[in-house]
């Protein structure tokens, strides 16, 4: 505030700052920086991502090479520090490689659903009227099925496999994204500032671009990040049921299913993929919470 007197003479700096409008994101970033939990969680996710992408650098064993001689070794076995699974494959390697498919199946469907559902929802919310009714009633039909049942039904019809899992999860996540996008857009559309923008003679697309989108994308994005954790669990669930990724692929849900048989012999090893699913989905959840708090303009 000390430099306010100097500023008072010349409004151009303030005008320039207003025009750039960067201060919003800077403020979000500042708030995020103070939120240690969210930062830590993002750090964990980034580490996980790096490990998964550069999996060969972090592992010493082939995740698919098994040996009958070293089945279900416990945690801490020399050479296999996380032990081995039911056909003697190195569990650490499989955990890292498994993260590839699990994250892929957890993030890609949400991303696709965000694109498709976000577009349809914003369109329906902004257009209103008949288009809104058409989109929303179709959404209701899909919404009638719980997402896990819908995903099971779709993979049941299409058959197992990574592509079909992603497709099934995308379809089952489109309705909630549409619903959130539509309700947020409808809410914003009816606020006075949109009416004021209409009163200034702006066309619909201009209003959409300057007044609707920047108020709508944030909440939709936050909601989508919260879906990632659910999606990871659902993808793992499908694999667990044998409807997702097929053996011998490494995937956390599938690994959990296979190791189930060895739970009495080596309980800790059997639980590890589940722990990974838990940690990852928890991190995405916490990140989404942190983002929502940082992006709330009123705070």
């Amino acid at each position: 505030m000390e430099d306010s007197a100097a500023l008072a003479a010349d409004p151009t700096t303030a005008l320039k700052r207003a025009q750039q409008g960067k201060s919003y994101w800077r403020r979000v970033w500042e708030r995020l920086r103070e939120d240690k939990v969210t930062l830590a969680v993002i750090g964990v996710l980034v580490m996980l991502l790096i490990m998964v992408v550069f999996a060969p650098w972090f592992t010493m064993h082939d995740p698919y090479a098994g040996s009958v001689l070293r089945r279900l070794k416990p945690v801490g076995t020399p050479g296999h520090w996380l032990g081995t699974d039911e056909v003697g494959r190195d569990l650490w390697s499989r955990m890292v490689y498994g993260g590839r498919l699990s994250l892929l199946a957890g993030v890609v469907p949400v991303f696709l659903a965000l694109l498709i559902g976000g577009f349809l929802g914003i369109l329906a919310g902004y257009a209103g009227g008949l288009l809104n009714s058409a989109v929303m009633r179709l959404t209701d039909v899909l919404y009638a099925f719980p997402s896990i049942l819908l995903a099971i039904a779709i993979t049941g019809i299409l058959g197992a496999g990574l592509q079909n899992t992603i497709l099934a999860l995308t379809i089952s996540f489109i309705p909630p994204v549409i619903r959130i996008s539509e309700s947020v857009t409808t809410q914003v559309r009816n606020l006075d500032f949109v009416e004021a923008a209409r009163a200034s003679g702006a066309r619909r697309l201009t209003i959409m671009r300057y007044h609707i989108l920047n108020n709508v994308l944030g909440p939709i994005l936050v909601y989508a990040t919260s879906l990632i954790s659910i999606c990871i669990i659902l993808a793992a669930g499908l694999s667990f049921l044998g409807l997702g990724v097929t053996p011998p692929s490494a995937e956390w849900g599938l690994m959990l299913n296979n190791l189930r048989q060895g739970i009495w012999a080596s309980p800790l090893v059997a639980a590890l993929p589940g722990v990974m699913i838990f940690i990852t989905s928890m991190c995405f959840n916490l990140m989404s919470d942190g983002l929502r708090q940082a992006m709330d303009v009123r705070l």
């Binding site: 005008l15 207003a18 025009q19 200034s200 003679g201 920047n214």
Partner: protein, 360 residues
């Protein structure tokens, strides 16, 4: 208490606020005729229209150049709908709006876009009427920008307007709405409304949500701006004191109809419609010895879905008679400046208090 006193007192008006003399009847700046808006209530499975809310029904009035027209009435009487109809934010079912001799919305008349340049509006909710994700200067500059002014030029105009509404541009231009107080936000809204250099500004409960001292400041600002930019105001409010302070003429609405219109001093001194009378007697007096002891009116306004037959006020009118049930009273000029819609003021209407032709 002093700011309140200041704006309640009618004697010390801000110069220029009340233009006492009107030039000898040129064409009015805005002429509204038979403006009607009925909102259908959709119900049932296929969205059939089950009922109709008669929000604004056959409203006609004029707004003179340079005046302030106050519009008062209870909640739900159609004040705000009228404002939105004037702005063409909602399409009227019927009726015409003639701005400066040009009919709005007809091919050879004034386009909607052109209307928006000439007429702007300030909303009641200062927070909801600003985009929370835009710096306020951008909100102000948006209108000129949309109308083809370059970004930089539009922002410079925004800076000028910030100055005009008493906010230092260097300090306020890059702020966000949540960083401002209610009064400051409403100043921004006023600046935004002025950005297109309109000739009429509709103030829809623009000061109602502010606390009294800030309200007085904003009212004084509005009075200054009116002189400076040669504006005409349509001032919608439920606060009768504020309307008296700021308006030249006042229009009283009840259930989507105009019941009385006239110069504010004369209407306040001698209300002719029973509803206006009741409304004015509901104003709290500053003198405790003159406090209102009886409720001027009882009950709620009737449901606008099924308004009473004939005169819409008859269900609550202490003077209602048989004729009031049979025919709606027309808004008749009682003299050159005033008009009232009441059977008691229609000669030979059949109401016992109506003047009979030949008598007097």
């Amino acid at each position: 208490m002093s700011p309140l006193k200041h704006h309640v007192a009618t004697e010390d008006r801000v110069p220029g606020l009340a233009s006492e003399r009107h030039p000898p009847r040129p064409k009015p700046l805005l002429a509204i005729e038979h403006l009607t808006k009925h909102f259908p209530l959709k119900g049932g499975l296929f969205g059939r229209t089950s009922a109709v809310v008669q929000a604004v029904d056959d409203v006609s009035f004029v707004v003179e150049r340079g005046e302030t027209l106050g519009i008062v009435g209870e909640s739900g009487c159609g004040k705000s709908t009228t404002a939105r109809l004037l702005m063409h934010l909602i399409k009227p079912d019927r009726g015409s709006i003639v701005f400066d001799g040009q009919t709005v919305g007809v091919p050879e008349g004034l386009s909607q876009r052109e209307l928006h340049r000439q007429m702007q509006m300030v909303f009641q909710d200062s927070y909801a009427s600003l985009n929370p994700r835009l710096p306020v200067a951008m909100s102000i500059a948006f209108g000129p920008f949309v109308h083809g002014l370059g970004r930089t030029a539009a922002l410079l105009r925004a800076a000028d307007l910030l100055n005009a509404v008493g906010l230092e541009p260097a300090l306020f231009a890059d702020r966000y709405p949540h960083e401002l107080s209610g009064g400051q936000r409403q100043r921004i809204n006023v600046a935004r409304a002025l950005a297109l250099e309109p000739r009429i500004v509709i103030l829809d409960e623009a000061v109602s949500a502010l606390d009294k001292s800030v309200e007085a400041q904003v009212l004084n600002l509005l009075a200054d701006l009116k002189v400076r930019f040669d504006l005409t105001y349509i001032f919608i409010s439920h606060d009768l004191n504020v309307v008296r302070y700021i308006s030249d003429r006042v229009m009283v609405m009840y259930l989507g109809k105009v019941v009385e219109i006239g110069p504010v001093d004369r209407v306040y001194r001698d209300p002719q419609h029973p509803y206006t009378r009741a409304l004015l007697s509901a104003m709290p007096s500053m003198d405790p010895r003159r406090r209102t002891r009886q409720a001027p009116l009882s009950g709620d306004p009737p449901n606008p879905v099924r308004p009473p037959s004939g005169c819409r006020f008859r269900t609550r009118c202490p003077l209602a008679e048989a004729i009031c049930e049979q025919a709606p009273p027309a808004l008749l000029a009682s003299d050159t400046a005033r008009a009232v819609a009441c059977h008691m003021h229609v000669p030979a209407s059949g109401h016992t208090q109506a003047a009979t032709p030949g008598a007097e």
